[in-house]
């Protein structure tokens, strides 16, 4: 395993050097990429310009949710997000090239196309999270201190699993990109607000059917010491790591089944 790590490290280094070959565009992308995440935060601030509460949550409380969501999504997008380019990898033959090497396919693809320019977004997401948590007046206990570290990481794993799972659909249906986007980006937007602002089947589907409520909403409740207005017990706020592990397991399975169905493009 250690020798595999050396191989993966080499792939990462190669990707960094490849991107350094286009230095100017790299810097432009680095700056430009923060934009989208800043926009998410600004949207919330604007909303609170016209209302004092959103779904029963104050601005400071909502910002904890936004921080968790932004950090988790941006980091997962940095590490795993490019797997949505799977159809392109198949078309260009990168996927075949990766399959004839003595390493697992998924880590190779992720490292060979790691979008380092998205680092800026993840850093911005982290900054939002730190500021939000710092100003939310949290009553710190050892358990909450642990949760504030674990929950964002669980969120990263969860979004990573969503990226991988939705990308595997393209093994069966090559034009599945739009559907995949509606789940991943829809999920990101969903996790930026308290789930109480949504209603009906839509909330049930995204929050608990797919598990997006465990990325930011429930961990935020646990951190803030608030009871769930929707009536779920308090322990649900601590379930995020378990949900993330489950999601990762589903993603791993989906990937393995997908790769078996892969038929290649022929040449």
């Amino acid at each position: 395993m250690a020798e595999h790590l050396a191989a993966y490290r080499a792939l990462l280094g190669a990707q960094a050097r490849s991107q350094a070959a286009y230095r100017t565009s790299f810097v432009v992308d680095l700056v430009g990429n923060v934009g989208a995440t800043v926009f998410d935060v600004v949207t919330v601030l604007v909303l609170f310009g016209v209302t004092r509460e959103l779904g029963g949550f104050t601005l400071r409380e909502t910002l904890v949710i936004v921080g968790l969501s932004s950090f988790a999504f941006a980091t997962a997008d940095l590490l795993v997000g490019n797997i949505e380019r799977l159809p392109r990898y198949v078309r260009t033959g990168l996927f075949d090239a990766v399959l004839v090497r003595p390493l697992a396919a998924l880590p190779q693809l992720l490292l060979m196309d790691l979008p380092l320019r998205k680092v800026s977004r993840a850093v911005f997401g982290l900054a939002v999270l730190v500021v939000a948590v710092g100003s939310a007046g949290i009553d710190w206990t050892p358990a909450r201190a642990a949760l504030v570290v674990v929950a964002p990481l669980a969120g990263v794993v969860f979004f990573g699993a969503v990226f991988v799972t939705t990308a595997t659909v393209s093994f069966y249906w090559i034009d599945s990109g739009e559907l995949a986007n509606s789940v991943t980006y829809g999920g990101r937007d969903f996790t930026s607000y308290p789930v109480t602002v949504y209603g009906g089947w839509f909330r049930t589907l995204f929050a608990y059917g797919m598990g997006f409520a465990f990325v930011s909403y429930h961990p935020a409740l646990a951190l803030l010491g608030r009871a769930d207005p929707l009536g779920l017990p308090a322990w649900v706020g601590w379930a995020a790591p378990g949900v993330a592990v489950l999601a990762a397991a589903v993603a791993g399975l989906a990937w393995r089944v997908g790769i078996r169905h892969y038929r290649s493009t022929g040449s």
Binding site: A14, D96, V100, S267
Partner: protein
């Protein structure tokens, strides 16, 4: 395992590849066994199933039926273990890092295949010499010509000392000089005798130069498996001796083992087919009958034979 009998087997019985909601049988029940150190040319028209076969043997595609063993391993189930012992060059795919100098790709592959630095350096030095890599080793791959890139791909496939080398169209699109370089290199590799080589191509000169054994497939089935000579004798294509005479003979000459095929230019040019007789016997026989002005030998046109094979696969059978 070392010390055991070193022999490797390929047995593919596969079929039914689904594409675009139609069931297309790309490879339809192929049985092959390739011994260690053999050089096999694997040819067939477009869509015959050549690439598909190679993809199944490298673990990229899973056979729908049948089984394959390469180096005694199951390609899909034991893909990563097998990959350490295989070299693969897909002519239209790249194993190289586009934006990095060629040298960096080689170094990366050393890590990917976990090759000891000494072995890696030795193999690279050999490839550099045989393939003239030095002049473009520091140029990013995206700026290389196709011929240069292909030489890089070949090197990349060999740096971990594979037991089996699969080449899918290694000379496609190359200029004459690059083709010669690639062929010469592969011939050298074949002479060393410890690398098994399976090559698909559209350029039959590759096969004539490199392979003792030729497997022709069409519509996913093997239509010929044997030497090039066997292919010629089976389909009646033979080497010809063309003799230019000072004066036409009154009686057509009869030479044992080399029937007269035709007479041209009012009998001044005679064409004999070499069956059992050699060139020397024909020349000697003719010299006794007439004054010879010129002798030339015409190699059989393998393209012609193969084209005929493609057109009528049903008649021949494996």
């Amino acid at each position: 395992m070392r010390g055991l009998r070193k022999e490797f087997t390929v047995r593919v019985k596969a079929g039914r590849l689904r594409r675009e909601k139609r069931t297309v049988t790309a490879v339809d029940g192929i049985d092959l066994r390739v011994e260690r150190g053999e050089m096999v040319g694997y040819i067939g028209p477009n869509g015959a199933g050549k690439s598909t076969t190679l993809k199944m043997l490298t673990g990229v595609l899973m056979p729908s039926a049948g089984e394959a063993r390469v180096c005694g391993l199951r390609p899909v189930a034991e893909r990563t273990r097998l990959a350490l012992r295989l070299g693969v060059v897909f002519g239209q795919r790249s194993q190289l890092w586009w934006d990095l100098p060629l040298r960096d790709s080689f170094d990366l592959l050393r890590h990917v295949y976990r090759v000891p630095a000494g072995e890696h350096a030795a193999r690279l030095a050999r490839c550099r010499g045989l393939l003239d890599l030095d002049e473009f080793l520091d140029i990013p791959v995206r700026q290389l010509s196709l011929g240069q890139r292909m030489r890089g791909e070949l090197t990349a496939a060999l740096l971990h000392g594979p037991e089996v080398l699969f080449l899918d169209e290694p000379t496609i699109g190359l200029d004459v000089v690059s083709k010669q370089a690639v062929r010469g290199f592969l011939a050298e590799l074949g002479r060393a005798g410890d690398t098994t080589l399976v090559l698909t191509t559209h350029d039959l000169a590759d096969i004539e130069r490199l392979c003792q054994r030729l497997v022709v497939i069409d519509h996913g089935r093997v239509v010929h498996d044997g030497s090039i000579a066997a292919l010629h004798s089976r389909y009646g294509s033979r080497r010809m001796v063309v003799a230019e005479l000072d004066a036409a003979l009154s009686v057509p000459p009869v030479l044992p083992g080399a029937p007269l095929v035709r007479a041209e230019a009012d009998g001044h040019r005679l064409v004999f087919a070499l069956e059992s007789a050699g060139v020397a016997e024909v020349v000697a026989g003719l010299a006794g009958l007439a004054a010879l002005r010129d002798i030339s030998i015409v190699e059989p046109d393998i393209e012609e034979v193969v084209a005929r094979l493609y057109r009528a696969p049903a008649e021949v059978g494996g």
